[in-house]
Symmetry: D2
Subunit: 454 residues, 4 copies
């Protein structure tokens, strides 16, 4: 018998250099429920992230899978219908199937930290689902990994849930089917009816749009010909003309097609497995109102329903039946979905500075090749007082394509734009760095030859 050590091969992406951070966010949902801890962690370099729902006293769980491309962990166990509360955590993650590592990592963290062990009645049960936040929306392919997920789990706390583009929803988008390209995020809502608590959470990355209760679309970079007050019924009545060109072809032409909404509904009411499954089925069915269309071939929609079992309603002789719970939870979920929508960056104004005011010398200092990731690089060239950009890697960088240079129109001394349906700001404010869309969803490229410490 021969024994050999396995050497690790070098890898394209070095996720090990990334720093997990807890994003405490400007806007949060606050609620009182000690049995539910929430952690939201991110790699800003993606940006991408993970959201951990941790139940320190264990809970009972059910799952409902409806999307055409789901990514899940340990759902088969939930389907066996045992009535023993065994669930420790539900984990949602960005990074598509690569983000599944986040889900299993919370399970191993529970063991490594001594919270659970190998006794078969004390095994850690971590389940979850992922969203697709890769493709052309980001200029890199960083994904939430074991290190990020475990750090996030360890920082989980009760009572606070960040709203908007945070955690697993850090780079979520909605409305791709219609070309809306709206930034999205994670939403949460909480309602208490007597002693019964209901919380709903959703990482909203739907191929369809988010619909308000009055029928209007919550966020969309619309076509110029579209009405200002965009309504879902109008978009659907005009379908397939309202569909973005190319976005529904079966070929692989359009990478942005893969989407997913993953969601969680939690109640403190003690439910048996059949009633908990009904809660899952009912709430998931109701989400077709808030997301239109919902559960398409290009979504991977998964909903978990969890009962912490703290309140035995059967004993409480409640007049709030399981049906009431289901119907109410569906409304709370709609609230949660609406709460996921962040403020959208404004479409860049008409270029503020006349081209003439620029000086060739000033523009030339921006020239160079900026690397965003092994997949995406952008070459900046200056000519005749004008600045141009062209993608030189494997992929385009938003409106900066690979075929020919596009002109960057100045909006300030350091910032430029490429006019179009979607906002695109290109900023040279940091020396040696090219920042696309500065702000919450920024993507940073480093000029070749620039040292990291510059």
């Amino acid at each position: 018998m021969t024994i050999a050590l396995i050497a690790s091969r070098p890898t394209l992406a070095d996720q090990a250099t990334l720093s997990p951070i807890v994003d405490s966010a400007d806007k949060v949902l606050r609620f009182d429920w000690p049995a539910l801890h929430i952690g939201t962690g991110e790699y800003e370099e993606g940006p991408t992230g993970v959201t951990v729902f941790y139940f320190p006293h264990r809970a009972l769980a059910a799952v409902d899978v409806r999307g055409g491309g789901p990514g899940t962990v340990n759902t088969d166990y939930l389907r066996l219908g045992y009535d023993t509360p065994e669930l420790d955590a539900v984990v949602f993650s960005g990074g598509s199937w690569y983000g599944l590592e986040s889900i299993t990592a919370v399970g191993t963290a529970l063991k490594d930290d001594g919270i659970r062990d190998g006794t078969w009645t004390n095994l850690a049960l971590s389940v979850g689902a992922i969203i697709y936040d890769l493709g052309e929306r980001r200029l890199n392919e960083i994904y939430p990994d074991k290190r990020l997920a475990q750090a996030t789990f360890r920082a989980a706390q009760p009572g606070v849930f960040p709203l908007g583009a945070h955690g697993a929803g850090r780079f979520a988008k909605t409305g791709g089917l219609f070309g809306c390209n709206a930034y999205s995020g994670e939403g949460g809502a909480f309602r208490q009816v007597g002693e019964i608590k209901i919380a709903a959470f959703a990482v909203v990355n739907a191929f369809g749009v988010v619909a308000r209760r009055d029928g209007r679309v919550a966020a969309c970079y619309g076509d110029v010909k579209w009405a200002k007050d965009l309504r879902t019924v109008d978009l659907l009545a005009a379908y397939p003309a309202s569909r973005k060109a190319g976005s529904a072809l079966t070929s692989s032409a359009n990478e942005s097609r893969r989407n997913t909404t993953v969601s969680l509904v939690v109640t403190n009411e003690k439910l048996n497995p059949a009633d908990l499954q009904r809660l899952a089925t009912h709430v998931h069915s109701s989400m077709g109102r808030a997301l239109q269309p919902f559960a398409t071939e290009f979504d991977g929609d998964v909903l978990y329903a969890v009962s912490t079992g703290e309140l035995d309603a059967a004993n409480a002789a409640s007049s709030f039946s399981t049906l009431d719970l289901d119907v109410t939870a569906a409304e709370v979920m709609w609230d949660a979905i609406l709460a996921s929508v962040p403020e959208q960056p404004a479409v860049t104004q008409t270029p503020a500075l006349a081209r003439a005011t620029g000086k060739a010398a000033d523009l030339r200092r921006y020239a160079g090749e900026y690397v965003f990731s092994p997949l995406v690089s952008v070459r900046i060239t200056a000519a005749q007082n004008r600045l141009f950009a062209q993608a030189t890697g494997a992929r385009a960088a938003y409106a900066i394509g690979k075929d020919a240079p596009v002109e960057l129109e100045p909006i300030s001394a350091t910032d430029f734009t490429v006019p179009g349906r979607y906002p695109l700001v290109v900023s040279f404010q940091q020396p040696g760095r090219l920042v696309m869309n500065p702000g919450h969803w920024e993507q940073i490229g480093t000029r070749k030859g620039t040292r990291r410490s510059d």
Copy 2:
């Protein structure tokens, strides 16, 4: 070995005396599609009925079950995912689980008529689902049976689908959760996009209400305090206060709780099993918009998706993808659901004739005990120029309860009413008969001692 003939025991209900009829209806959907034959049969004595969708050239089918109390036949076979078209018929029926007999009866009719036989590649495949149209909404428990289903199958024809309270939707209702008590029925819609045909059919018997695309409730006998222009968002925002008292308790107090929407989407596009299942999942998920709430514990929602396979879109190089098919079919289904709503009988006017104008002698001729079914009888008594009614069987008869007599207020010489949220007309126009709610949903009682031929 002993052999004995089995004698048939007498039964409570003699379904054998009923006459199957084809109801050609005033309002129909017409469309051109020879590969789909439709039959709609009824027992007027219920009334209740069955709707048969027959595919003479066989088809491929998938099923999606979402309700809390479904009744189905042969769905396990569909789930195996074979790509050979083997489906002969989808059958929807009233009569709750008793109506399952209608589904199997179409299968045996196919054999008895020599269309299919016992060769294992030529077996008849009939699938289907049922709705609950029993309980307090009808004063009898007649159900669609083998005889009715086979007669209906044999009368099936292409291109015509009756809309409203016909076939399996003959005594459907919606909105029971809110106490709406609206009459419902079966709806259908058809759309053609290029060569692609899409038809949707639904027997709408939802516990929730039917929602129009503008958010208004399509039909509901509302509470007097409710707004005239009832909207689903308002009903749900006010939930559970908007719920009918008692209608969501887990006890069996309220028999009207069991509902169901069964539906069918058909396309001529040749689909593989995965795409057909996606069509089923997507369209069923979308129905939470048109029916609110949808897929509750007290619904038994089942959707079948069928591909006749006449059009091979892959060969046609169509720009209408399977996603386009799914999204469009969901809209056609919403159209179908809206088309199911019949005109509701007007709430009875304030009594037209003063009580004083009645004559005691005239009213006394109505007195007697009227039998509606082994379950329901009503005793009519006249006293002091006033007419009273009391239920004497096992069950109440609408607003005529078992505990005490209620006064019947005159609206004509022969017709009376009991004022309330729901229309109730009691008519003595036919000698020896008491007709409740004369018209399409009438229930007929016969006075004891009256011969049938009177």
Copy 3:
């Protein structure tokens, strides 16, 4: 609105002329369990039949579907995992998908007889599954229908279960994969451990063979080259050479390919839905020992597990765990499968009477065309002291094919045989009738021109 009466079209097979009979059988399983009533009914003209398991006090049920071609009723409801006992009956039937009518018919019988009604907490729940006993094994396509199933239900009684070729197993066969062509039937076994009762029943119509616990094949008309003491391991080691020629081709050449084993395990122990489902899964998984191979593409295997809930083992502090129940029930099921095997008719002896002893005049009186069903007729001709037979309908009649006459070799004055792997006796003992395989599995043809009362 026009209303028209639907006229019934004439049908090929007139099932209405058949007489339901109760077959009390020579060999029965007897056991003491009042909560389980069993009825076994047959149409001798097929022969084919139905077996009804009726639970007068209702029960909880689970289902496990494993075969490639199942036929089922109402399984979706069982999968919802409710813990309320609602099951009234499990019905097994011959007749392939046409026999599904038997299952729904027991549901309507429960209502027609006033045992259940339309109240939604008192609906009849009848589930079941079918076997394929059509194709070339029978010379007609009679199937168990509503009339037979309802008569059988009404004759159900506790404590007795007929063993062998009875009820749904009336014309079951096993071992088709290897060409065994063994007659099969329904088997049952009962075991009591302390207060815990376990019963198992199976209608064994497997494509594979029945295996004894010592590894030997229970019944098979083997190839002449095969060992007398046929063992499953040898058959499988020699596979695919041991397969009957043609029997595993994907073409439709061989009609006998469709098979199915449907089974039921019942316990009086009160189980929750998860434990009951585990019982179903475990026992069904174990059946691969007794039936080899099991759950093929050409089987439609379905198992129901039922808990009558009479014994609350949790309270009884039993040392007999749910695992013990599962493991023991799997053994009881093997017993049940073994009990299904009837005594096989002996292969006909070498013709007993010399051909020379026959007289031409005697043989000529047998000549004529005998009709077995609209599908099968046999023409008998006599020539030169020899008798010949040829199939003249749509199908062959066992070894009597359509292409050319085969000689019938005499074994008595009235009985003849066609030598071969399988027993075939042709008898003219009854005037005007041709009886194939006289005895329990006989098929009777009537000579054209012969009146029924002859």
Copy 4:
């Protein structure tokens, strides 16, 4: 918005110190199939391990879950029935649910190594399942983690599969139900029929025993009263008496109860999703022969079926049908299961050295407290020329319990035993170390105060 770095908390088990090794094993299965690479990695310190099946050209996969406690990744996606080959890897792992990390880690390794990326048509699809190899069988809770799984994946190669206690089967056991406590492992078998290749692999950790084709149990430390030539039929006939005391109680008394057999069947034949699912269902159903009992509440059995699609049998006009494939694959799987059984360590002989020959001074040098893991420590004491052992941590160490010291009987100068049903050797051959069961399944404890480099 505040941003904070998350600090890692210290953990009980430091998996980071472990060294992944490739175990090339003495006994391997060799076969020619470049489309399937296999890696087998282990942490000897457990010992525990992982087995990776990598399909470099992608493949189509189906899954069948039958056990009562499965652990799975991404099975929901497989169930959607797409016919595009997307599978990259099937990963089996020890470590119970903690080993799920191994499955997701292979997915991220595929991306990190640049084999797959974030393009939605090029995502890595890694699925898998785990076995329970924790509890009382090992004196530590080391589990296969991301590092081990990625190293194993990177070392995968075609054509070789280690047999016995290797990879995911490194510390598998069988027969716990009967107290057999037999060492088990991973098995594989390969068969080629014409151009069709069939491979089967199983990590056999069943609660039941492995059955040979002649009915004998393949491995079991039997009760002294049992027959030497133990047969499954006898064990089951004697059930529940043959069950190990306590092993089937529902309480958590016996930690060894959780088991699982995870398996994989691979063919080069191109199959559609329905046929591939049938292969999975059929083969999994057949495994109840080789493992008795199978699919119990305490197993978590999962089978994956994979088609590499290299051979289009439809074009090849093969006479080997999908049924033939299924039946043959079931036999290959039985072969694989039999090949998993390693040679069992002999039960220790009667102590070879008389107690009297020992010298008190010699024995005292073994005294001390030996730490196996944070869970298990053993205190060795010497008294009157006799050596004693007692477990001092949270758990017992095999026959060395926590309640009282047991005497260690000498079998050599350095080795001792505790007589009993199971082999237990305790060795002091290495200074400062206590080795339990020296050899392939050894567990090593370090004396407190001993430096690692001693």
